[in-house]
Structure formats: structure tokens, C-alpha cells
């Protein structure tokens, strides 16, 4: 946040977007461990060494073996061979294998570095956005990735809600908003009510298997089939060539958002050339079934919110795919916009608006400004939470679209004398049978005191927190004993596994950067310490009260102590603390005219405001007049 407005931090290459492309670099000459590179620079590698590259890993997060195998049919990456059922599947990249959260962690680490470069200081906390329709396992995987990247994830925010935050900022609005978010891999529709800075989600729906990637894959498949039929070459056998065709398909898709016709023009290895004209009308016909899949979730979201399309005041479009004219027509149709003289909101860059909203949420959490202090996000859980009951049916305990945090309390007992454990199977979804829902976890309640069957009364509390993640606690009421709960996440990493996967904070390239931050911090510390050394010699020192002098000395001692360490953050904080402690003293030292202007500022700021002809490395150092 810069003041009251969110701003996107550019990467080293000046680009605002870091594409979700991750590559295992070639093995270095010294035979050591290859590094990982993320983003724009890797796109070439996707075509040249596709077996070392993965993209859109978000589609694999929190998924089990079966689901990943289905997703992988559309992509070129391979599962590692030795995956067991029930374990988190690994993707093979070159000679190494990684779980999806680890790959995400590398992307997050890249973003972390971009931010650190921008601020010149360490960044350790983050707000991360997720599709609103992400289930518990997908959310947990995202938090795991954050942890591995060395980030304390303060909040997971749903993407459509984040977009609403970004739009709500410069429009003090009251009204009902629909956010239509068609990204690369997921589709979300959320309906919110805005009132006095409170963003209250009414309902949310979506499809976590639907996005721009499906359009790309369709166009790519058509091209590959035509190449095979017309030129007798099945490019599917050459992953690199497939990626080249995919790149061409994406470029054509983008071109068709502004032009009436685009072209495929691909050189084939055997010297042939695949050339094809794609008029926009044909393109729209081809992708119509994909876009049509967004209509159902929109209708269900409206029904769950209990409103008609006419009651939607504004529609916000999010995600690069909403640039496609056919998408805008569909949205207009679904919400009867043109008929009511309305247009969807596209003023903010659809690729950036979610990140901007996340920054606003971070501002709210940090209590950064009065504007954000008046804003509050009330989001909902997208899927019903249920327990598998006898006969395999689902007993719903928390309804979908319940405002979170939300809780439910259920009571259990034993079926057998002396039974010490009770197992609960928790699922997410709207279906009647547990097998048709998404298995979330099995909770084993252990340590139930021995009693006759049916006697224990175990109170189990289910709590969905503000991130949309489930927590469970249990108490056997007759004995008053808290039951130990062992959680076996159906698709996820245990805490121990995540710990073991935390990324090295720095690799060789970044050690230098970290070192330079440390040197800079130590230099600043030394400067202020030198000035404080000389302080008692200044007549103004005697004007200080006893406690002020003691406070300065205590802050100085602390800084001397931490300066020895390698902890850049602590050194920086101790320097600031000493600066604050000596503020009054600095004021006293200045002559009257200057101190009137600078009263209330810290010494660093005071130093900045001094006349340019005066230079002092520090406001307390003797000024050198040019």
C-alpha cells in the first residue's frame, strides 16, 4: 500500500506479472544441485526443455492422485513414478521431483524477493489470494506453500472478494456487486453486498477445473490434429513442439480479442509449414461450450443469494480471460446489463486487480490507515461441511455460503463397551452420499475413558476460520476430558512434512543481496551509535530528564548487542528504537528556528529536512557546511 492506494510491485525485469512458470535449471558445471528459476525468463525453456518445466501448478494444489492424473492429461508434465495412493503426488522435473506446494513455494519465494528488492528490507508476511471455490485441502496446500517460502500467511483471501475490495476503494459504494472471475485455471462467481465499507459476501460458486487454459488446450488440440492430418506429423510425440503450438494458440487467442482474424504460422521440423487463418467468429463458436459452463454457477450463486439478475447493481470482471469479447457478451446476457444501461467494470487491469485487493486486505490487517480501518471483509465458506453418518449419507453441519468464521457443535458416543476411539469422517460438498463429496479428513478422537457403550457424550466443535480452513476440538463431557484428536488429512502434507520442505532462504544469487542488506543495516547502526557516543558532550544533554538519558542509554546498549548478530531485521528495529529515543535530544540540539519547523519528527526525518547546503550523515553528527 502507498498511502491509501494499492500499488503493484514490479519484478526485476520491470514487468508487473510473474507468470506461473517454474523450471529446473540445467545441472551446473560443478555437478552441484541445480537451481530453480521462476517467471518470464523461463518461457524459452518451456519450449526447449519442457521436461524440466511446469506451469499453472495451481491446478494441482490440494488434489489427490486420481484428480491430478485427470488434470495431467491436458498438460505435458509427468507424475513421479513412486507415488503411493494417499500420499501427496509429486511431479517429475528433470532429475528431481516436487510436490505442488513446493513448486508454489518457489513462485512465492520469487515474489518475496521482488518485494524485498523493492523495499530494501526483509519481507516475512503475506496475504495470499485463492479461488473462492477452493476447498479445505487446496487452501491448506496454499498455506503450506507460503510457509515453505518463509512467509507467515496472515490471511487467505478469496479472489473475487479481493477484486471487490480493489474496486470498492475509490468508489464509496452501497450496492450489490457480482464478481465474475475467469482466470487461467479456475472460475469463480461471487455476489457481495457493500455498505459503509463492509463487504459482505452473500454467495459464491464456481468451477475449479475451468479457465483460460481450457481455451488454450482446445485451440492447441485443433492445431495439433490438423498438423497430423495435413502434414502426417504427430507433434504430440515432441513435448517441445507441443509447447510451441500452445504458445502460438495463446498468441492467436489474445489477438482475437482486438482483431477480427488471427493466424497460426508454424514451421515444422520436417520443413513443412502449418498455416491457418482463424476468424473470430469461428473461434467464438469453438469456445462457446467452455464459456457456457460459467452460466450454471452464476445462476446457482444468484439463487443462493436469493436475488435476481436485475438486483445486481455492478458487475466486476476479473482474470485475463475476461478480455475475450465473447465472455463480455455472455456476462452482459447473464446479468441483463445492456438492457439496464449498465456496463461491466473493467477499469482496473484484470490481471492485477486481485493483487491490488490483497494489498488492501493487508492494509486492513496492518491497521495501516484510517481508510482501511473503516473497511471489513465478511466472506463465506463455498462448500457445505458434513459428517459421514451411518449408511454413507452426509449430515450437513455447516451450510455452504455461511459467513466465516463459522462453527457447529455435534455430539457423538460409542457403539461398543470400553471403546476408546471414535472416528469421524469429514467431507465437503453438496451431494447426499459421502463418496460423492470431497473427503477432507478423518479425525480420530482418542483417549475416551472406558464406559459402557452409548454412555460417553463427546462434544465435538467444528470451526471454519477466517481463511476457510477447518479446526476441530473435542471434549468428553461426562469425564470433562479433552479428547486427543489425530488429524489425517485426506490429501495433504503433515506438519512434519512441511517443516522438512521449507526452502533455503537464500541460494548463491541471493546471498550477496542479503549480505548487502546486513552491511547497510550495520552501517546505519554505527552512524547513530557514534553520534550517541558524543551526546553527553553536548550542552543539550543536560536539558534531558534522568529517565530520558537512561532510555537512550538502554536503547544504545540494545543496539550494540544486536549489531553483532546477523539479524538484519533486529538491527534495523534497534536502530529505529534508538532514533526514537533520541528524538527530543535532537530537537534540543537544533537552534530555535529550525526546531520549530521540525518539532515532532524523528532524527532521520529531521536530517532529511535540513537545508541541502548542510550535510550530516546523521542529524546528531556535526554538520558540514559546503
Amino acid at each position: 500500500m502507498q498511502g491509501d492506494a494499492p500499488v503493484v510491485i514490479p519484478g526485476v525485469d520491470g514487468s508487473n506479472l510473474v507468470p506461473s512458470v517454474v523450471a529446473l535449471d540445467p545441472i551446473p558445471a560443478d555437478g552441484g544441485r541445480p537451481t530453480i528459476t521462476v517467471g518470464n525468463t523461463v518461457r524459452k525453456a518451456l519450449i526447449e526443455t519442457p521436461e524440466r518445466v511446469i506451469y499453472s501448478v495451481k491446478r494441482l494444489m490440494g488434489r489427490d492422485l486420481q484428480e491430478i492424473q485427470d488434470e495431467l492429461k491436458l498438460f505435458h508434465f509427468q507424475l513421479a513414478n513412486d507415488v503411493e495412493a494417499g500420499e501427496v503426488p509429486c511431479i517429475q522435473l528433470g532429475e528431481m521431483k516436487f510436490t505442488p506446494p513446493e513448486i508454489s513455494a518457489y513462485i512465492l519465494r520469487q515474489l518475496k524477493r521482488n518485494a524485498e528488492r523493492f523495499f530494501g528490507a526483509q519481507v516475512t508476511q503475506a496475504v495470499i489470494t485463492v479461488p473462492a471455490y477452493f476447498n479445505d485441502a487446496q487452501r491448506q496446500a496454499t498455506k503450506d506453500a507460503g510457509r515453505m517460502a518463509g512467509l507467515d500467511v496472515l490471511r487467505l483471501v478469496n479472489e473475487p472478494t479481493a477484486a471487490a475490495l480493489a474496486y470498492g476503494l475509490d468508489r464509496a459504494k452501497t450496492g450489490t456487486i457480482a464478481v465474475y472471475d475467469l482466470g487461467g485455471g479456475t472460475f469463480d462467481i461471487s455476489i457481495l453486498k457493500l455498505q459503509d465499507g463492509i463487504f459482505e459476501v452473500q454467495s459464491t460458486n464456481g468451477d475449479t477445473h475451468l479457465g483460460g487454459d481450457d481455451i488454450d488446450n482446445l485451440m492447441m488440440a485443433i492445431a495439433l490434429n490438423e498438423i497430423r492430418d495435413e502434414h502426417g506429423v504427430d507433434l504430440r510425440l515432441q513435448p517441445g513442439a507441443v509447447q510451441a503450438v500452445r504458445k502460438a494458440a495463446i498468441e492467436a487467442k489474445i489477438k482475437l480479442s482486438t482483431d477480427a482474424v488471427a493466424y497460426f504460422d508454424i514451421e515444422l521440423v520436417n520443413g513443412g509449414r502449418y498455416q491457418r487463418e482463424i476468424p473470430r467468429a469461428i473461434f467464438e463458436q469453438l469456445i462457446a461450450p467452455i464459456l457456457e459452463r460459467t452460466a450454471g454457477p452464476c445462476k446457482r450463486a444468484l439463487a443462493d443469494a436469493g436475488i435476481t439478475p436485475e438486483q445486481i447493481d455492478e458487475v466486476v470482471l476479473v482474470g485475463g480471460s475476461t478480455r475475450i469479447p465473447a465472455v463480455r457478451l455472455l456476462v452482459d446476457d447473464l446479468f441483463h446489463l445492456a438492457a439496464r444501461g449498465k456496463k461491466p467494470h473493467i477499469e482496473l487491469n484484470p490481471d492485477e486487480v486481485v493483487a491490488l485487493g490483497a494489498a488492501v486486505q493487508a492494509g486492513i490487517l496492518a491497521g495501516a490507515s484510517k481508510t482501511t480501518d473503516e473497511m471489513l471483509l465478511l466472506d463465506v465458506t463455498p462448500l457445505s461441511l458434513g459428517i459421514e453418518a451411518l449408511g454413507g449419507t452426509v449430515a450437513r453441519i455447516i451450510q455452504r455460503n455461511s459467513t466465516i468464521p463459522a462453527s457447529a457443535t455435534e455430539y457423538f458416543t460409542t457403539g461398543v463397551d470400553g471403546q476408546a476411539n471414535v472416528a469421524i469422517h469429514v467431507v465437503q460438498g453438496e451431494r447426499e452420499l459421502a463418496t460423492d463429496c470431497r473427503s477432507l479428513a478423518r479425525f480420530d478422537l482418542k483417549g475416551i475413558p472406558p464406559m459402557s457403550a452409548g454412555l460417553p457424550r463427546i462434544e465435538v466443535k467444528f470451526l471454519i476460520d477466517a481463511d476457510g480452513i477447518l479446526h476441530v476440538s473435542a471434549l468428553e463431557q461426562r469425564s470433562g476430558k479433552a479428547a486427543q484428536i489425530e488429524v489425517k488429512p485426506t490429501y495433504g502434507l503433515t506438519d512434519a512434512q512441511v517443516e522438512g520442505m521449507i526452502l533455503d532462504s537464500f541460494d548463491h544469487a541471493e546471498e550477496d543481496f542479503a549480505k548487502s542488506l546486513l552491511i547497510q543495516a550495520r552501517n546505519e547502526a554505527e552512524t547513530i551509535l557514534a553520534a550517541v557516543e558524543r551526546a553527553p558532550q553536548n550542552p543539550a544533554w543536560k536539558q534531558l530528564r534522568g529517565e530520558e538519558q537512561a532510555a537512550i542509554e538502554a536503547a544504545r546498549d540494545r543496539l550494540v548487542q544486536v549489531k553483532q548478530s546477523d539479524d538484519t531485521v533486529q538491527i534495523h528495529e534497534a536502530t529505529l528504537a534508538l532514533d526514537q529515543a533520541t528524538r527530543h535530544f535532537a530537537e534540543l540540539m537544533m537552534d530555535a528556528a529550525v526546531s520549530t519547523a521540525l518539532r515532532g519528527k524523528t532524527m532521520n526525518a529531521a536530517g532529511e529536512e535540513l537545508d541541502e547546503n548542510v550535510s550530516a550523515p546523521h542529524a546528531m553528527a556535526p554538520a558540514e557546511f559546503k
Partner: protein, 238 residues
């Protein structure tokens, strides 16, 4: 969660040690957030149990309390305050969700008053007590017996026709008529329910006891009717 307001227990604030009764979310003296209070959902909003509620006022209070309790406001607080913020906000959200919907509000009040709804009385002695699967009550309201029998036959015919790919416009029209009729019956139940609300809010112990019994029966009837309407909608809409 179902204790009645009157028996609120005195506690001391963890921060300033001044005593207050157990049903407050914030210490009245130092304003620090407190662990989830005892008391019922009505007390969260500073209300005594009643059925006619001003929904605008409820929403305003919900927003006001959300601004003060929400975990986003405690992102930089101590761990214990964070925990209580989470628990208190869950309580607030659960209470608002229950009280703002007329049916949930009625069911909740009846549960509070100890009345048993038929749906609960009939669950299995399975490992899970009080399973809240929304099953339809097994007993058909007497006056509907014939209509329901006829309707179920028509629905069966409809489904069979659909399966065979045939269309039966006459049957569809009949079913649409039935749906209108049942919607009307539902509307009548809602009117009766509102009347019982008034009786309960304004009556003494005896009137309340009677109103509770009647409301329980009305809710059963309503649940039955709405399941029927849902079945018709599904069959017609499919």
C-alpha cells in the same frame, strides 16, 4: 450455547480484573475482548428471546459487532485475544445466521425452550447423536394425505415419461397447478406461524407453552410441504 440469559455467571476480566457478568463480549470497563460468553444467540445481540425481530436493527448490530470482533481487527494482537476473536466472531456469525432467517429463528427458540421437534425425535442411536440431516418427518399431515398420494403418483408418471423421452403437456400443466396449490398452502402456514409469534411474544407462560406446541406442528407441516414443492420443481425443471 443453550443456557438462558438469566443464569449468566459472574467472571473477572482477564485484563483489568474488574468483574462483569458472563454474557458480555467486551469488558464494560476496559473494553478488552472477552472469551465467548455463555447465554444464547439472542443475548449476543442484547435481546431477550423473541420471535418478531427488527431485521434492519439486527443487521446494523451485526455490522457494528463484526467491526469490533472480527479476526482482521486482531491480526497484530496477542495469541489469546486472537483465539477469542475467532471464537466470538464464529458465535456472532452463527447467531446472526440463525436469527435472521424466520424458520431457523423459530426452530432455535423452540430448542431453547426445550421443545422437541419431530425430526430430532426420530434419529437412530448411531455413533452420532442428534444428526441434523434434514430428513422429512415420516408423518403426513392428515388433511394432505389424499393430495400427497395423488401427487406422488403424478410425479412418478412424469419421471417415467421423461425417461422414455416423451412429453406430456397435460400432466405438466396439472403438476404446475399442484405446485401453485402447495405454494398457497405454504403461504398459509407462514401466516399461521406469524400469528403464533405474536402469541408467544406477548403471552405469559401458559400461552407460550401452547404457542410452542403449535409452532412445532407448523414447522413440521411446513417442512413437509416444502419438500413436496421441491420435488415438484425438480421433476418439472429437469
Amino acid at each position: 450455547m443453550f443456557k438462558v440469559l438469566d443464569s449468566a455467571v459472574p467472571v473477572a476480566c482477564w485484563s483489568c480484573s474488574v468483574g462483569h457478568n458472563d454474557s458480555t463480549l467486551f469488558c464494560p470497563y476496559c473494553s478488552k475482548i472477552q472469551p465467548p460468553p455463555g447465554g444464547d444467540y439472542f443475548s449476543v445481540f442484547g435481546l431477550k428471546p423473541k420471535l418478531n425481530l427488527d431485521l434492519h436493527a439486527l443487521e446494523a448490530e451485526f455490522h457494528r459487532l463484526s467491526r469490533k470482533l472480527h479476526p482482521d481487527r486482531f491480526a497484530r494482537a496477542e495469541e489469546n485475544e486472537k483465539q477469542w476473536s475467532l471464537a466470538d466472531t464464529a458465535l456472532l456469525n452463527d447467531a446472526y445466521r440463525t436469527l435472521k432467517d424466520p424458520l431457523r429463528r423459530t426452530e432455535y427458540l423452540l430448542k431453547l425452550m426445550g421443545a422437541k421437534l419431530e425430526a430430532e425425535a426420530n434419529h437412530d442411536a448411531s455413533p452420532q447423536l442428534g444428526a441434523q440431516g434434514r430428513k422429512a418427518p415420516s408423518r403426513v399431515p392428515a388433511d394432505l394425505l389424499e393430495k400427497v398420494f395423488e401427487l406422488n403418483m403424478q410425479l412418478e408418471e412424469m419421471r417415467a415419461a421423461r425417461k422414455a423421452g416423451a412429453k406430456d403437456p397435460a400432466l405438466e400443466a396439472e403438476l404446475a397447478e399442484d405446485k401453485k396449490r402447495f405454494d398457497g398452502l405454504l403461504g398459509a402456514v407462514d401466516v399461521d406461524l406469524r400469528a403464533e409469534w405474536k402469541a408467544w411474544d406477548e403471552g405469559g407462560a401458559v400461552e407460550r407453552e401452547a404457542a410452542q406446541k403449535r409452532m412445532a406442528a407448523l414447522l413440521d407441516r411446513r417442512r413437509y410441504l416444502s419438500n413436496l414443492v421441491r420435488d415438484v420443481n425438480e421433476t418439472l425443471g429437469a
